[in-house]
């Protein structure tokens, strides 16, 4: 047992040395070996310290069952934190662990350096533990059922946050309103007091007239608000303090997970690329080589009818390396691309891109053909391949990653007809919502807002409103 750990430690030290040589940059690592049910718990909850909810139990049960039946296996889990926690499945062989250790290092490098993660709370392990604690206290105070029912409702809309990196996130209700009113009057927001503040006044053109003086906010919110979670948490009139608290904590957790949702393909591709490169540097005997190849192929194997993000990401990264290592004559002449820049380009991509831009910028015609990608859709009872043109494949892939794959909804009006009713608008881009799901989501939204809620979307390309008034559903075409 201790021998095992000593061997593993030795291997990790070696792997880290190789990784450092390649220029990977990661946080201090904490490797923890744990049994399968613990790994699956973490997999279902997303974090070892997360709060309790039956939906996690459901996921856990499903995942664990697949493991027990030998259908799927999680070998590792890695947490975006500093220090970085990585959980290894007890019973992994040493060579399996070597692959995983290398894979995890690359994940950590990605967490640390990718721009999307720049605002990540690296103490989320502790934050989530605190959240879990608070929620369980609320359960004791207000009853498990009440808290659980509330969380059910929040989960229904939890994806609807605004994950922008450059937007001030932590405005409270009052400051938000002041800012929006000012914007509407055409004023500029007062800038934070800083050392160079006086510089701003130099280019301030105070030419605006004053007719905006008496203007009231006719529309609330003045501009459509993407962060539905935040908006409801701040402006709902029926929420109590503990409910707002839970909402804001769950929103924080969503914002923490968001970059991972946005970079799934890249992150897995990056990690797969590096575990292969690193293991190649190790001195393996033939047995280990075969075992490595087995596990590696099971990780990156393409699967029929679906896209393995590990495989897709890996192939794109390899393609980038190839194209920047050996640019064509045209690329050299037109863009001044110098040969041998493959690695450098890869590191740049891992820093600046997310899945949408990664695919948009680096998916090539050659690649879609090599990977034999296609677009398929439902025609009658059949799922049929309908398109093989590479631009459409690329655009479809990009589209599937927009907004983390969730429909984009905004708060359009929170005082509809001056009745305080809430209108969410689905920014329709050609794909309809699942209406059944939506009609069942509306009661949750109602529970949070406390008044009639509407969702505007399109069905068969016609605008339609769905309404839930606490008792009944209505729908009407506009």
């Amino acid at each position: 047992m201790t021998d095992e750990i000593r061997d593993l430690e030795y291997a990790i030290a070696e792997i880290m040395e190789i990784a450092n040589g390649f220029g990977l940059d990661y946080y201090p690592m904490r490797y923890e070996i744990c049994p399968s049910d613990i790994i699956y718990t973490f997999g279902a909850y997303g974090m070892p310290t997360r709060f309790s909810h039956w939906s996690f139990g459901k996921t856990f049960h499903k995942m664990k069952m697949q493991y027990d039946f030998g259908l799927s296996k999680i070998y590792e889990l890695v947490i975006n934190s500093n220090p970085c926690y990585a959980f290894l499945l007890d019973g992994n062989s040493l060579i399996q662990n070597k692959l995983i250790v290398a894979h995890v290092l690359a994940h950590c490098d990605f967490f640390k350096n990718n721009a999307r993660f720049s605002k990540s709370n690296r103490n989320m392990v502790e934050s989530m533990a605190a959240t879990a604690d608070r929620i369980s206290n609320y359960e004791m105070e207000y009853g498990t059922e009440a808290v659980e029912a509330f969380i059910d409702a929040v989960i229904a809309i939890q994806e609807h946050v605004d994950p922008q990196l450059i937007k001030p996130r932590h405005l409270d209700k009052q400051r938000y309103m002041e800012m929006k009113m000012r914007e509407q009057r055409g004023e500029k927001a007062p800038r934070p007091e800083g050392h160079y503040d006086d510089l701003w006044s130099l280019d301030d053109v105070q030419a605006e007239e004053a007719p905006t003086e008496g203007i009231q906010v006719h529309h609330f919110p003045p501009e459509p608000e993407k962060d539905v979670m935040w908006f409801i948490q701040e402006f709902s009139e029926v929420l109590t303090d503990w409910q707002r608290d839970i909402m804001s904590m769950m929103r924080e957790e969503m914002l923490y997970f968001w970059p991972q949702m946005e970079t799934k393909i890249m992150n897995e591709g990056w990690a797969s690329y590096w575990h292969q490169r690193i293991i190649r540097e190790l001195d393996l005997n033939s047995e280990d080589t075969i075992e490595f190849a087995k596990l590696n192929s099971s990780v990156v194997q393409p699967s029929k009818q679906s896209l393995n993000p590990y495989y897709l990401g890996l192939k794109i990264f390899e393609d980038i390396e190839r194209r920047w290592d050996n640019p064509t004559r045209e690329e050299q002449e037109r863009w001044g691309r110098k040969p041998g820049q493959g690695r450098a380009k890869m590191f740049e991509v891992r820093e600046f891109d997310s899945d949408t831009s990664f695919i948009r910028n680096y998916m090539t015609k050659q690649l879609t053909e090599d990977l034999d990608l296609y677009v398929f859709e439902k025609k009658g009872p059949d799922w049929k391949i309908t398109d093989k043109s590479w631009e459409n494949i690329r655009d479809q892939l990009v589209f599937s990653r927009v907004n983390g794959g969730s429909p984009y909804l905004v708060v359009q009006d929170a005082d509809y007809l001056r009745t305080g009713e809430l209108v969410l608008k689905h920014q329709y881009e050609g794909i309809e919502l699942d209406l059944k799901y939506m009609e069942r989501t509306l009661p949750y939204l109602y529970r949070l807002w406390g008044r009639t809620v509407h969702v505007e979307t399109r069905v068969e390309d016609k605008p339609i409103w769905f309404t839930y008034d606490g008792k009944k559903h209505h729908r009407k075409f506009l």
Partner: protein, 389 residues
């Protein structure tokens, strides 16, 4: 790159996770919720066709819609997806087929999700359903039968002793004892079985009063009874039989079908055969009386005549019916009349039966499938103070 003084440090640890039970706890909570949903949907579930038509042994799958985590999602069916082929995919290839053409909610959450759906299904065995259902039911006031007369002896092996007959040796326990003893003496393993290790099974004589019940299932099979009416009756008898089987050791069921005249039929015929013609209910009551008198002496049988009809009886026959029901009740534990009356017509039979004022006589009008459950509850409701078994 890194500015910490120990840039690439690492720690490997292996802790005791045995107290980390969160996943299991929440899993249990989920299962509890599933159970609650099943309970709430009991009225609909118990008339599910795949239960009623089953042999009653299988595990059935119940779609649990309310435990899906509803969110705003794209309609998976109307979305385009990207997939990957083996290198020879062509436009027009069929890569999958929807097993059911029906529209089910799908999730289009991830790139490259399998075309498929995530419908929460709970597996429930019929036994579990029974437990939930029967927890709410109880036999109505029964007349005590001459139980002493019908007794049976059985032998129950229910104890372990150190002495006994060689033929009754309990090998498993003997070996366990041996293991235990060897372990305490520091030589673990199975060896040197001594007389001290031997364990024997012993038995007890038990006298079990035998209890029998017979259901006289009567149904109107005249032209006016459609498939809905029959289905309701069938669901009712399905659960009633199973309920009585729990209460009695032996439950027999006699099927009597009638229109203007009655005859004994097989179960199969009872539920499937449709006949035309008018209705004279007294015919079936006469038949029932006849069968009871010939085959099921009330002294040793608990008798449950149940009659299902759509209430459309020959008006002149009603009076006779009421009289015969009185006769039947003298012999029976209770008499149940179920009327399947979808459209709430006024029925001739009901107008006559409404005036029967006896505790043993019960009736219920079923208007929709879900009310089979209510009928069951009404016939076998729990009464205050309990009842005599």
């Amino acid at each position: 790159m890194s500015n910490s003084h120990q840039p690439y440090s690492f720690v490997v640890s292996k802790e005791d996770w045995s107290l980390h039970r969160k996943g299991y706890q929440d899993q249990q909570r989920h299962q509890q919720k599933v159970k609650d949903v099943i309970k709430q949907n009991l009225p609909d579930l118990i008339t599910e066709e795949n239960i009623i038509m089953s042999d009653g042994k299988q595990i059935i799958k119940v779609p649990i819609r309310s435990l899906d985590e509803y969110r705003f999602v794209y309609n998976y069916q109307k979305q385009k997806h990207v997939g990957q082929g083996n290198g020879d995919s062509q436009v027009g290839d069929v890569i999958g087929r929807d097993p059911s053409a029906s529209q089910k909610p799908g999730k289009g959450e991830k790139a490259g999700d399998q075309p498929g759906h995530d419908i929460v299904e709970a597996e429930v065995s019929i036994e579990e359903l029974e437990d939930m259902l029967f927890a709410e039911l109880e036999l109505p006031d029964l007349k005590q039968k001459d139980k002493d007369l019908i007794e049976t002896h059985t032998v129950v092996f229910n104890d372990i002793r150190k002495k006994g007959m060689q033929s009754n040796i309990d090998k498993k326990r003997t070996i366990l004892e041996n293991l235990r003893r060897n372990a305490t003496t520091g030589t673990p393993g199975i060896h040197h079985i001594s007389p001290d290790d031997l364990r024997y099974k012993t038995w007890e004589d038990k006298i079990i009063p035998q209890s029998n019940a017979v259901i006289i299932a009567m149904m109107d099979t005249s032209g006016s009874m459609g498939s809905f009416e029959k289905y309701c009756a069938r669901s009712f008898f399905f659960w009633m039989t199973r309920f009585l089987r729990r209460q009695y050791e032996k439950v027999e069921i006699v099927f009597l079908a009638h229109h203007t005249e009655a005859k004994e039929v097989t179960e199969e015929e009872f539920f499937t055969r449709g006949e035309s013609g008018g209705t004279i209910c007294s015919s079936v009551y006469m038949k029932a009386l006849d069968i009871i008198d010939r085959r099921y002496p009330p002294s040793s049988y608990n008798i449950y005549p149940f009659h299902f009809s759509d209430g459309d009886n020959l008006t002149s026959d009603n009076e006779r019916c009421v009289k015969l029901i009185g006769e039947l009740m003298k012999r029976s534990n209770m008499f149940g009349y179920g009327e399947v009356n979808q459209y709430n017509r006024s029925s001739t039979l009901m107008s006559a039966y409404r005036h029967i004022k006896m505790d043993q006589f019960m009736y219920y009008v079923i208007k929709e499938k879900g009310e089979v459950y209510k009928a069951l509850r009404s016939f076998f409701q729990k009464r205050e103070g309990g009842s005599v078994r």
